[in-house]
Symmetry: C2
Subunit: 268 residues, 2 copies
């Protein structure tokens, strides 16, 4: 048998395995500082066996709360072999599509230790599944969640890396340079009007001065929420300057994959 | 035979193929505007057959001229299945390790149509090999070469994409937005003192206003020449603020690969 044929056979076998793979998804109840939370766990039980100590990824939602969107990202990550946990920041079942309400909900966290603490509760929950190698855990977040993973990293949380997708760039605390363990990838919409030139300059200055290990990527034409396929619908409904950008979504997901390969190693 | 064993066998076969692959490298004489030039062609003749119409990559050197470094990049690209051509900008055999002389040589091109024209002669030479699909050609460049691939793209040259590694950000001509066909990837050292904040701001503004398809990536801790393993040696010899940055080199090469996959498609 020549090698191209053999390769086709292997590819066909691979496809069969993929079809047989069982994606486990389930809500997970937990609690933080008196608030009852409910996150969303996803993994592929063909790839992740009990005691396997796979790589884990924490997913922090946009300011809308734990909607279908972050759950779908957790499932995508699970298909790639990660144990993914979409955290709940607000409280079991608390979601909204009203920007005013979302602003109030997210507003509880900005500039406060609670932002990192609540995210940390999600991280601990992910590790408590027993499926994850504690040295191979990363966190990603969208918009508000992008800010949150930055805040979590700055506390020195045991993370190999964080990825912020169209996240607000929050001030870097003075002690963060000494504490931070995570490598940082920021995926930024070049036309994102929510992030000011001052915030961008402040972030870059703090990163360079603090000698953080970071990568900052700007995607042409992308505005706020560029990775969320529902962004156009929400924009229309709510009159917000947000939009899905398919090309930037694909590029940033690819950049996240390369980053994970570096900081988490290979998955099965 | 179970699939992991089958996969090992295929991988072993793959390794054999790779060992048997023959890298063709050769100098190619050409001429532009009365200057005799000599570029460097590289391809893998197991992957690239006459009439195969493979994807091509033009490589524009640093201001040192066509030294071993751009040739080694052409060879790396050839191993990946591309037909690579490291262009000569200065004239056959004209290389230097003296920054003063390099500045004079590169100075002939900055701000002048000759920069794109001389690079275009190299691009034409690559296409003239007959090995390349003219719709699947990209250009990469280092430092001076990074500026040059920008200049070449802005003339509307038939390129699917350009990648600038630690290139100076040259002014974007007014007519470039309408002419440019190439998607643009800029790989920038976040600590590169040769590129001013004004140049960065001007580039971003021009890209956004002109609705260019670009991606701009900053790599923490990387200074000028961060991809060149010889940079430290040159820095010591010549007292220049340049340095090799292994991590940023690897990351940017990975980002280039993803970019090429998007703009050039798969290689064999």
């Amino acid at each position: 048998m020549n090698s191209p044929r053999l390769l086709s056979l292997v590819l066909a076998l691979g496809a069969t395995v993929a079809l047989n793979a069982k994606l486990v998804t389930k809500p997970v109840a937990y609690e933080h500082a008196g608030t009852k939370l409910e996150g969303w766990l996803a993994y592929d039980d063909e790839k992740v066996k009990p005691g396997a100590k796979a790589a884990g990824v924490l997913v922090i939602p946009e300011w809308w709360g734990l909607t279908e969107y972050p759950k779908s990202r957790a499932e995508q990550l699970a298909k790639m072999g990660y144990v993914a946990f979409a955290a709940d920041m607000y409280g079991a079942g608390v979601v909204t599509d009203d920007p005013k309400r979302a602003g109030e909900l997210a507003g509880q966290f900005y500039g406060k230790p609670l932002m990192a603490e609540r995210a940390r509760a999600g991280l601990d929950q992910l590790v408590a599944t027993g499926l994850v190698d504690g040295a191979r855990v990363a966190a990603i977040g969208y918009c508000f969640g992008g800010s949150t993973v930055q805040a979590l990293a700055y506390t020195g949380a045991p993370l190999a890396g964080v990825v912020s997708f169209h996240g607000g760039l929050i001030p870097v605390p003075a002690e963060a340079a000494a504490k931070t363990k995570a490598k940082i990838l920021v995926c930024h919409g070049a036309a994102d009007g929510f992030i000011t030139a001052e915030e961008l300059a402040g972030f870059t200055k703090a990163m360079n001065e603090g000698k953080f290990d970071y990568q900052f990527i700007s995607y042409a034409g992308a505005v706020h929420a560029f990775t969320n396929p529902k962004a156009d619908e929400i924009a229309k409904l709510r009159g917000l300057p947000i939009a899905y950008h398919k090309v930037a979504d694909k590029r940033s997901w690819g950049h996240m994959k390369q980053f994970f390969k570096e900081v988490l190693g290979d998955t099965k």
